[in-house]
Symmetry: C2
Subunit: 486 residues, 2 copies
């Protein structure tokens, strides 16, 4: 156990907080519920952002930016949306401060009250669809495939760094289509982009599925989700993509002239992932010594540490290796600091989750070798100088694959079928449970009350199978995935 980190076995929740803080990823701020994302944490978010942005553009999307504030009345325009979002919001009521007469500081100027209060966006469907009204006139303007990278605020009572904070960073895609089918295809395409990103970049296996009616996004006709299993075997909803039907088009009166010159309402989707993914990344791979990062999302992939300390010969080799690795597109840094001992540095880089560490020592160098250590398994290999670039390229690829394989095996092992209430409640303590449910909101609610578990999703690959609901005993035609979730 690294200094200052609780073990997962002892206290999983504390372990998570310790990793986030000790690895320099984020911290609480002076503002309740808001976090500071520290440089190391932000560098990981930048990697996530960069790759997702690339994937969005490859699928035809462009970025834009819409206002931070939403007029209060907009929230009420879509009936289901207002129920879901117009609750815990930050509300701007005034636009000016003035000096207190007693000299004690500044106070809110009562004369500067807004006629209509502004809500700090909890999500942007309303302000965006109000804008789309001006952008969409005819079928030629469709599809409209827009994404926004932004901060949003949902006033949360219980917060956890990255996983649930009052302010968070995210992207929200908002698309408009001429037909229902196109919009459904888009929503599914983005679920697929998210799943591909989670599995190929985060090395985090996910279950693709759709939400039950009661777990849907407020205002959606269908919510597609990707669900991941954390190391405590709880579920993390990692991304959602919504088919919104014509709900927002009707609420904001967005119609287009079709090719036959007839007016029709526009079909919509929205989809988002957030800084919550950083939390998921941490909880999927990290261990009691610190952060473990999949190579594709590691801001620094290789660190070179001179042993016992930098000398000209060692530094020359270090520089040469670094140049070669950089030439192969690998992010590398050399630790020049003569004031810290190698052992201290090793622990520090383990804590920070740098995938590969190269140690260069005098004695090894005489044998023409360097030591290469991988972060996930802690395995060390002596590598002949001249072979290190190929070795490290393979190693990074293998780590990426191994991390995914390990996480996938863990998810499979801890996802079990249950066919009666007793098994169901017992297996819920051990992970995900695949079980029959009668499809009613009532049973779903009762199950939640009794077990704290929710239907994570109706899997995309659900098999037709007759059974009976574990709770009600009523008939069911397929299993859904239950779990306790973040």
């Amino acid at each position: 156990m690294a200094k200052g980190i609780s073990s997962r076995a002892d206290n999983y929740a504390q372990w998570y907080v310790d990793i986030v803080k000790r690895a320099g990823l984020a911290d609480h701020s002076a503002v309740r519920g808001c976090m500071v994302i520290k440089p190391h944490g932000f560098a990981i978010w930048e990697k996530i952002q960069g790759q997702l942005d690339h994937m969005f553009k490859e699928t035809g999307h462009v970025n834009a930016y819409f206002p931070l504030f939403i007029p209060k009345s907009f929230l009420s325009k879509e009936a289901a949306h207002v129920e879901g979002f117009a609750k815990e919001c930050a509300v701007v009521t005034h636009y000016r401060l003035k000096n207190a007469e007693d000299g004690s500081g500044v106070i809110v100027d009562p004369d500067a009250k807004l006629e209509e209060e502004l809500i700090v966006r909890p999500t942007s469907e309303t302000i965006i669809w109000n804008t789309y009204k001006d952008w969409i006139k005819s079928y030629r303007d469709l599809p409209l495939l827009v994404n926004q990278w932004a901060n949003v605020v949902r006033w949360e009572m219980r917060t956890r760094l990255f996983l649930r904070t009052s302010e968070f960073l995210w992207q929200e895609g908002h698309t408009a289509h001429a037909t229902e089918q196109e919009a459904i295809e888009e929503a599914l395409r983005m679920q697929d982009v998210y799943a591909t990103f989670a599995e190929e970049y985060m090395a985090m296996p996910v279950i693709r599925g759709r939400k039950t009616a009661s777990e849907r996004f407020a205002g959606a006709v269908e919510t597609y989700t990707i669900e991941a299993m954390m190391q405590d075997r709880r579920a993390l909803q990692a991304g959602t993509s919504h088919f919104l039907g014509q709900n927002f088009a009707k609420a904001f009166d967005v119609k287009y002239l079709n090719e036959e010159n007839r007016e029709e309402y526009v079909w919509a989707t929205s989809w988002g992932v957030s800084t919550r993914l950083v939390g998921g990344l941490i909880m999927t791979h990290s261990d009691d010594d610190g952060l473990v990062l999949p190579p594709k999302l590691a801001p620094t992939q290789v660190v070179i540490v001179p042993i016992p300390k930098p000398d000209p010969e060692i530094m020359e080799v270090a520089e040469r290796i670094a140049v070669e690795l950089k030439g192969n597109g690998i992010k590398v840094k050399i630790d020049h600091d003569p004031k810290k001992r190698p052992g201290f540095k090793f622990a520090e880089y383990e804590l920070q989750g740098i995938p590969v560490r190269i140690g260069i020592g005098k004695r090894d160098l005489e044998k023409g070798q360097i030591e290469v250590a991988r972060r996930d398994t802690k395995e060390k290999t002596m590598v002949d100088i001249g072979q290190e670039t190929n070795f490290i390229k393979d190693l990074l690829e293998n780590m990426q694959k191994d991390l995914f394989a390990k996480a996938l095996a863990f998810q499979k092992e801890n996802t079990r079928p249950a066919d009666n209430w007793e098994d169901f409640t017992q297996l819920l303590d051990e992970g995900f449970v695949s079980a029959h449910w009668d499809g009613t909101a009532e049973s779903e609610q009762k199950i939640k009350e009794k077990t704290k578990a929710t239907v994570r999703c109706i899997p995309n690959d659900q098999q037709a199978e007759n059974g009976v609901c574990v709770f009600s005993g009523k008939p069911s035609t397929g299993r859904v995935v239950f779990a306790r979730a973040y």
Copy 2:
């Protein structure tokens, strides 16, 4: 004059708005003072952001993210800062809405009043220095070189798209240093980064200088600025870099242990540029036919238009040219749309400011030629097929240089010395004026009242020269730059 665009001569202010709207860059939103940045405008901002972010990282900075909200009391901690910023702010007073009893929508829940109001950040010195208190313990933690990309809000009564909006996007660097000299060097380094970016990427010449005491950032000891001349010969403050002394360290009690183990206050800088740069870019180069973009910041650099419409042979040539250009790192798109006529497309791409347009027609193709048109001069050249890649590479480089040279010549022509009040007031109508000023806030204020002109900066390259203030007749030792400004 392009359809729907006022001419600069007729109505410069309207010309600007027309360009912004007709080129699809931005629009007003339903929220007073807030704009929507449309995909084309956002793509330009992404180019600006990408290059600046690269330059920040090359100079050793890392990104992080701090809360959107600032506790009201924080603003009061630095005396000058509160005077400058705690005025026109968006104030969050409540954190919940509820359904109105009469069913008319949602209302602010009076029970959800915050104990301390939160201010939507107008700039982040206070929340960041409150955080740095925890990050900085000893000289080993310094320098701390952090940047943040964020949205900020300053409640503006009179707004202009990009140039002055209540919400805008920007970056704000906040650095902490062990010594005064290091901090001053950092502030000057960032002024230099901004000037280099403005001149080499935006092709927008700038005057580097420092602000007078009355024009300084609220809380700064010294504000360094870059000032550009727009086509109406008014000044645009395009970026500022502040040496903050120990003001924020003292306000938030941020001390470090130096190498001699003695506690000292930390020295600070902050620096920022914003989406205002997009406004500056537009006003520096565009003409009465639309946007003109320097090639280095053009999201699309070359557009290929088949004439009169796509046919297999033309499309094959178009595809081949596009592949070749892309292989040379040039951003290119082919316009496949058979529904619009070439003349319409030409006008549209001129409006959008795409630097180079290639027309491929049947008859030219028979002669083995294509037509290449450059946006800035409208010059057209017949280019032999096979030569086009080199021709276009050179053309893009030349356009970049020519745009800068043209803007620089314009700035030089319209910056004149004045040695008496009559010349001064007359020349101010024609551009920048280089004049003697007695260095007092009183004269500065009077000049502003009488002429609406301000001291844009005391130039970095100011020559020692004895003279007398154009206003007061009191002695002065060097000229400063006066202008009316955005």
